[in-house]
């Protein structure tokens, strides 16, 4: 178990070591690259002066608020569309024509309507997160074992109980998977909005570092964003395994 884990870190560590050796050998002076040691130093310094924490906070607030809002909307519509086929048919064209719009393309409109800051960024993140959750929740609800629906009918469960005791638990493993995908998208879209225009968060910090001709700081932010994404996904995967280990297993074998 432990040797396997070490193996997984072997490659990135050797690449970093090689880069460091190469940078020192050629006495690297570049606007886009920096030796790993300089990147690490810039990272530590950014943490010490608080700028890294402020930027991280701004990005995560936008990403998670957008994820919550978009997730809630996607979940509600996904369940409704999965249950009521008429509603699904009614919304199909509308959804399929709005969904392909890249969330970033909303930026000019959102900027005019909401200005710079959290609100605009959260709106765009929420828009991006609605779709994966809506589509996957709809599929999860539509794909529930029909026998379970018959059981709920035979027992005359109330509509609320049917959703609460049958539909949501049966669809939950797949809904959680959708949430995990959406969390990744939320982070990507938040940073993209910041790089493109919004002067807050990690994306804006990368742009500032670039304009100050500080490749070490720029790459430090890049590394940190990658690490946040990795940790987020790992945490959600662990949660998924703990929460739905059994249910997911049964769902797969069925």
């Amino acid at each position: 178990m432990i040797p396997e884990r070490i193996k997984a870190f072997l490659l990135p560590i050797s690449i970093l070591a090689l880069l460091e050796i190469w940078a020192r050998a050629v006495d690297l002076k570049s606007d886009s690259l920096a030796p790993p040691s300089a990147i690490a130093a810039a990272l530590v310094k950014a943490f010490q002066d608080g700028s890294m924490l402020t930027a991280t906070r701004d990005t995560l607030i936008s990403a998670f608020t957008g994820l919550s809002i978009g997730g809630a909307v996607g979940l509600a519509f996904g369940i409704a569309l999965g249950i009521f086929h008429i509603f699904d048919r009614l919304m199909e064209v509308t959804i399929e024509s709005i969904r392909p719009i890249p969330s970033i393309a909303l930026l000019p409109i959102a900027l005019i309507a909401l200005g710079f800051g959290y609100r605009m960024e959260i709106t765009i993140v929420a828009f991006a997160c609605v779709w994966p959750i809506l589509i996957l929740t709809r599929a999860a609800v539509g794909g529930i074992e029909p026998r379970l629906i018959e059981v709920s009918r035979a027992l005359r469960l109330s509509p609320a109980d049917r959703v609460r005791k049958i539909i949501i638990p049966a669809a939950l493993p797949r809904i959680f998977l959708a949430f995990r995908l959406a969390a990744g998208i939320a982070l990507i879209v938040a940073v993209t909005v910041e790089i493109a225009i919004n002067p807050i968060g990690l994306g804006a910090a990368i742009m500032t570092a670039q304009q100050a001709l500080r490749p070490d700081l720029m790459l430090a932010y890049l590394f940190w964003i990658g690490l946040i994404g990795y940790l987020l996904n790992t945490a959600l995967m662990l949660a998924q395994r703990h929460l739905f280990g059994r249910a997911a297993l049964v769902g797969d074998s069925a």
């Binding site: 026998r147 018959e150 059981v151 035979a154 027992l155 005359r156 638990p169 249910a247 074998s253 069925a254």
Partner: protein
């Protein structure tokens, strides 16, 4: 207690039917699945329905459960039209693996029926223990369906159905997927459970011997469209026994008759 009261009521009105099909026809997708089915099932009767595959046995059961509505004709229960499922009619599905909630334990699955009937949480635990004991799963309350054998899962589904305190139990090839030994054991358990509860049973099976062994009456359906082709009264003595009942000359005669019927219906 309730069973005793029901029995009293039944003996007062011996002729009154509980489940009544009158001229029931069902078309699905422009195709006639069942045509002109008329059928009375008396309270406490054990009726078995047999027929070649695709003859509409399961569909008939779903009509009785109120899961389907007839295209024409009526299905009535205790004198009321079946426009929707009723909580006092329980249905045991063949595919127990799909009918159980995989995220709930055995106790949780039984609890679902009690929750549906609005039983207070404080009273459920005792009732769940009773029901699991009744179907022979007293030590498996905390297990998930995936941790149980097929026979145990089907017992669990039966326990959930008994939790509804059903007046009628509709069983759709409940033992079709089980091995022969498990099946015979469950046949006897169902007979004794039904005897104790006095519920009416409609039992769909493709196993002719199972139908004769269990039933008071056997109905055979002809396919395309499904209609009643044969009706046999089974007067074999009760309690039935896996060896002596199956060796009874009357059992063998009935088996021959049903076998010939199925053969002719497939020709």
């Amino acid at each position: 207690m309730i069973a005793a009261v029901n029995q009293g009521a039944n003996s007062l009105r011996p002729g009154r039917a509980q489940i009544v099909f009158s001229g029931v026809t069902l078309n699905l997708g422009g195709k006639a699945i069942l045509e002109g089915i008329s059928l009375d099932v008396k309270p406490g009767e054990f009726l078995c329905i047999i027929g070649a595959s695709g003859c509409g046995k399961t569909t008939a059961l779903r009509l009785a459960a109120g899961l389907y509505q007839p295209t024409s004709g009526t299905v009535a229960f205790d004198g009321q039209a079946m426009l929707a499922p009723r909580r006092d009619i329980a249905i045991v599905f063949q595919d127990y693996g799909k009918a159980l909630l995989p995220w709930r334990t055995a106790a949780g699955n039984v609890s679902l029926a009690l929750e549906a009937s609005g039983m207070a949480a404080s009273q459920r635990a005792t009732r769940i223990d009773e029901l699991l004991k009744k179907v022979g799963l007293p030590n498996h309350a905390g297990k998930y369906p995936a941790e149980m054998s097929g026979g145990m899962q089907q017992r669990l589904q039966i326990a959930r159905c008994l939790a509804q305190e059903p007046k009628a139990l509709l069983m759709d090839e409940p033992f079709g997927a089980l091995d022969a030994m498990t099946r015979q054991g469950l046949q006897d358990e169902v007979l004794s459970l039904v005897h104790a509860s006095d519920a009416t049973v409609v039992f769909v099976t493709h196993d002719l011997e199972e139908a004769i062994y269990l039933g008071d009456r056997v109905i055979g359906l002809l396919p395309h469209p499904g209609r009643i082709g044969i009706e046999l009264q089974i007067d074999l003595p009760r309690p039935r026994d896996q060896l002596t009942t199956r060796e009874n000359p009357e059992f063998l005669r009935l088996r021959r008759e049903l076998f010939d019927f199925i053969k002719a219906s497939e020709a």
